[in-house]
C-alpha cells in the first residue's frame, strides 16, 4: 500500500465522517435583555447581578416548562385544571422537538419547521432571518399581540391566533399557513401560547428577583448542593420546582395564566353595521364624509396617519417591544454606541414604528369591515394606536367607511381642502 493511497483513504474517511457528530439539543435562551434592563434599573452603574440569579431563573423555568425538545406545562392541583383550557400537552408535543414524523406518520417539530427561522426557538423573535426582515418578527415573550378581537391588555383568543396563521399578515414577512391541516394549526397555536406564557413568566421572575435587592428569592441550598460541579439530577430539579412553585406559583397563576382563560367570552362584540357602510348604498357617500369629519376631528387620526392619511404624521414613535429597553436611562436610539450592551444581549437595532399608509388598501390585521372595526374600537396592542373610548359604534362604522373608501377616493369622495393651520400645530 503506497503512502499516497493511505493518505487518500484517510482523507476520504475524514470527509465522510464530517458532520457525523451530534448537534446539541437546542435550549431556550435566557431573556438577557430583561436581565440587563433590571440591572440598569436596580443596581449602581457597571454592577451586575450575582450569577446565581441566572441559575435560579434557568432552573426554575426548566423545571416548570421543560426544554424545546420536551416541553412541559405547569399543572395545577384540583379537578378543574385551568391549564387544560389553554393548551393541550399532546399538541405541545406535536409542535415541539426536531422536525420529524413518528412511526404512525404524525408530524413532530412543527414549530421548528414553520416558525423558528424567524421567531426563534425561544419565541424571542430572534431567528436567523430576523435581522433581515422589516418589520422584525414578533417577540412572543411580552405577551402582547397586535391583531386580535379582545380589548387592550387581554391575550388573544384561540380563534384570533388561528386567523393569523391562516391569513398571514399582509405587508409583513408573516405568510399564510392555510394549507396546513387543522390539527397542525392548533398545535402551533398551542405552542405559541406556551412560548408566550413561558416568556411572560420569565420576565415576571426576573423583575421579582431584581426587586429583592440582591436577596435570592428562593432557598438556593437545594441547587447549590446539586450543582456542585455536576448537572442537577431530575430529583433535585423536581424538589426545587416544588419549593419554587409554592412560593411564586400563585403569582404565576393569578398574573399570567388566569388572563388566558375563557377568552372567547372577552371578544369585543361587533354591533351590526349601518347599511351605508356598503359602497353600493345610496347613503354611502354621506357616511364616508361623516367618517372624514371624525378623522380630522374627534378621532384625531391625522396626528399620526398624516394630513391626507399617508402615514406620514407622527413617525418618531417606537412600539412596545422596542420601548421595553429603549426607555432605559442612557439609551439613545439614534446613537448605537449607547445601546451596545443591549445589542450584545440580543436586541436588534431599533426602528421607529410607522403609522399605516391608509391609501394602499392593505391592512395588516385584515381589510374587511369587521377587522377595521376592531382595530379602531380596540386600538392595536403594543403600538401608539389607541382604543377609541369616546367614539360610539356608529361613529366607528363611519370611520370604517371612510378608511375603506380612502384608497379609491378619486371617484368616491369629494376632497375638501384641509385646514393646514390645524395640522401644522
Amino acid at each position: 500500500m503506497s503512502l499516497r493511497f493511505i493518505i487518500l483513504l484517510l482523507s476520504l474517511i475524514v470527509c465522510f465522517s464530517a458532520g457525523c457528530q451530534k448537534t446539541p439539543a437546542p435550549e431556550f435562551r435566557l431573556n438577557a435583555v430583561e436581565l440587563l434592563k433590571q440591572e440598569r434599573l436596580n443596581l449602581p452603574a457597571g454592577q451586575h447581578f450575582d450569577p446565581s440569579y441566572r441559575l435560579e431563573i434557568g432552573t426554575l423555568l426548566h423545571s416548570l416548562f421543560g426544554t424545546p425538545n420536551e416541553p412541559r406545562f405547569p399543572m395545577f392541583a384540583g379537578d378543574e385544571d385551568p391549564a387544560q383550557d389553554i393548551l393541550s400537552l399532546e399538541n405541545l408535543g406535536m409542535a415541539a422537538g426536531p422536525v420529524n414524523r413518528d412511526p404512525a406518520g404524525k408530524p413532530n417539530g412543527l414549530y421548528r419547521k414553520h416558525c423558528a427561522q424567524c421567531h426563534g426557538v425561544s419565541g424571542d423573535g430572534r431567528g436567523p432571518t430576523a435581522e433581515f426582515l422589516n418589520p422584525y418578527p414578533r417577540d412572543f415573550r411580552l405577551g402582547k399581540f397586535k391583531f386580535k378581537s379582545t380589548p387592550l391588555r387581554q391575550p388573544p383568543t384561540n380563534q384570533d391566533l388561528r386567523n393569523l396563521l391562516v391569513n398571514g399578515i399582509p405587508g409583513t414577512a408573516m405568510p399564510s399557513f392555510r394549507r396546513l391541516p387543522d390539527a397542525e394549526l392548533q398545535a402551533l397555536v398551542d405552542y405559541v401560547k406556551y412560548l408566550t406564557i413561558r416568556g411572560q413568566y420569565e420576565r415576571y421572575l426576573i423583575s421579582e428577583l431584581a426587586s429583592l435587592d440582591g436577596q435570592p428569592l428562593l432557598d438556593l441550598d437545594l441547587i447549590k448542593v446539586s450543582f456542585a460541579g455536576t448537572a442537577p439530577t431530575e430529583k433535585a430539579r423536581a424538589k426545587f420546582a416544588d419549593q419554587a412553585f409554592t412560593i411564586v406559583g400563585e403569582g404565576l397563576f393569578e398574573g399570567i395564566v388566569y388572563r388566558w382563560l375563557k377568552l372567547d367570552k372577552k371578544s369585543t362584540p361587533i354591533p351590526p353595521a349601518p347599511a351605508a357602510v356598503a359602497a353600493t348604498d345610496v347613503a354611502h357617500l354621506e357616511l364616508v364624509n361623516q367618517g372624514r369629519e371624525l378623522f380630522y376631528g374627534k378621532g384625531n387620526c391625522l396626528q399620526c396617519h398624516g394630513a391626507v392619511g399617508m402615514g406620514d404624521g407622527q413617525v418618531g414613535n417606537f412600539d412596545d417591544w422596542t420601548n421595553e429597553w429603549i426607555k432605559t436611562s442612557g439609551v439613545d436610539p439614534n446613537q448605537p454606541a449607547t445601546y451596545q450592551e443591549f445589542t450584545a444581549a440580543g436586541v436588534l437595532p431599533p426602528r421607529s414604528i410607522r403609522p399605516r399608509n391608509l391609501h394602499v388598501s392593505m391592512f395588516r390585521g385584515g381589510n374587511h369591515p369587521n377587522d377595521l372595526y376592531l382595530r379602531i374600537a380596540n386600538g392595536i396592542e403594543g403600538t401608539p394606536m389607541p382604543s377609541s373610548a369616546t367614539l360610539t359604534p356608529d361613529e366607528i362604522w363611519a370611520m370604517v367607511a371612510y378608511v375603506r373608501a380612502l384608497p379609491f377616493q378619486q371617484a368616491a369622495v369629494t376632497v375638501k381642502p384641509v385646514n393646514t393651520q390645524t395640522i401644522s400645530k
Partner: protein
C-alpha cells in the same frame, strides 16, 4: 429502452393535463422529445458504426487522413436542423397565440371584446393573494373579496387572471394546466385557461424570489359553476359586516 427513458410515452412525466391547451403543449412536448430521441439514436448509431467499421485493427493498411471544409456536408447539417426549427416555429405558432396572445373574448352588443379577469392575483414574498370582485362585480374597488393562498375557479369555462406582484419577480405556475407566467413588479399581466374537469391542484411560484420561495404555494380548487357561485356567496357573507337596517 433509451427512448423510453428519455421520453416516457405518457405525458413526459408531468401530471395529467387538465386543459385542451395543456394537451396541445403535451403534444408539442412529446413531438420534440421523440424527434430529439430519434436524432440522438441515429447519430449515436452512425458514430458507433464508424468507430467499429474504421477500426485500426480491422484496417491495418489504411492511414487516417486530415481534412477540413466539406461544403456539401456543411450545407446538409445546416439545412436539416434549420428545416426542423422552422417547421417547429410554425407548428407551435397557434398554441403560442392561443395561450399567450389571444385572450378569450366575450360578445357584448354583437362585438367581441376581451374577457374581463375573473380575479386579481397578487404575488408577494411569500404567498399569493387572490382578490375577487365584491357585490359590485368590479375588481379593485373597496368591496373586493380577498383570500390568501386559496384560489377557486369554475370548471369548463374560460378563466382570465390578472397577475401583479407586490415586490419582486414571481412566476405563477400550475403544472396540471401547463400554465406558467412570470409576474414582473410594475407590470399587469393577463393569463387564461379553461380547465375541463373539477380538481384540486397546487399553484407554485417558479421564480426564485427569496429565502421563503419554497413555501410560496397555494391551493387551486377547480369546481363546477354552481359550487363556485356558492363559494363566492359564502365568502361575501364572511367578509361583509352584519347590516342593521337592511331589508
Amino acid at each position: 429502452m433509451a427512448a423510453w427513458e428519455i421520453a416516457p410515452l405518457d405525458h413526459c412525466g408531468l401530471p395529467l393535463s387538465l386543459s385542451r391547451a395543456g394537451d396541445t403543449i403535451d403534444h408539442l412536448f412529446n413531438g420534440i422529445h421523440y424527434l430529439a430521441a430519434a436524432i440522438l439514436l441515429g447519430t449515436g448509431l452512425v458514430l458507433g458504426w464508424v468507430l467499429w467499421r474504421f477500426d485500426h485493427r480491422r484496417n491495418p493498411q489504411r492511414k487516417a487522413a486530415y481534412f477540413h471544409h466539406n461544403t456539401r456536408l456543411e450545407i446538409i447539417w445546416s439545412i436539416i436542423p434549420a428545416f426542423i426549427l422552422v417547421f417547429l416555429a410554425f407548428y407551435q405558432m397557434k398554441s403560442w397565440s392561443e395561450n399567450k396572445m389571444d385572450r378569450p373574448t366575450v360578445m357584448v352588443n354583437g362585438e367581441a371584446i376581451p374577457q374581463l379577469p375573473l380575479l386579481l392575483v397578487k404575488a408577494k414574498q411569500f404567498g399569493w393573494e387572490f382578490h375577487y370582485p365584491g357585490p359590485d362585480g368590479k375588481l379593485e374597488t373597496q368591496d373586493d373579496l380577498y383570500i390568501e393562498n386559496l384560489m377557486v375557479v369554475p370548471a369548463g369555462e374560460n378563466v382570465v387572471l390578472q397577475l401583479e406582484s407586490r415586490d419582486v419577480i414571481h412566476s405563477f405556475c400550475v403544472p396540471e394546466l401547463r400554465l406558467k407566467q412570470d409576474i414582473v413588479p410594475g407590470m399587469v399581466q393577463f393569463s387564461w385557461f379553461n380547465a375541463r374537469q373539477p380538481a384540486e391542484v397546487d399553484i407554485l411560484c417558479t421564480e426564485l424570489c427569496g429565502w421563503g420561495h419554497y413555501i410560496m404555494n397555494a391551493d387551486l380548487k377547480i369546481v363546477p359553476r354552481p359550487e363556485f357561485d356558492r363559494w363566492i356567496a359564502e365568502l361575501t357573507v364572511a367578509q361583509e359586516p352584519k347590516y342593521a337596517n337592511r331589508e
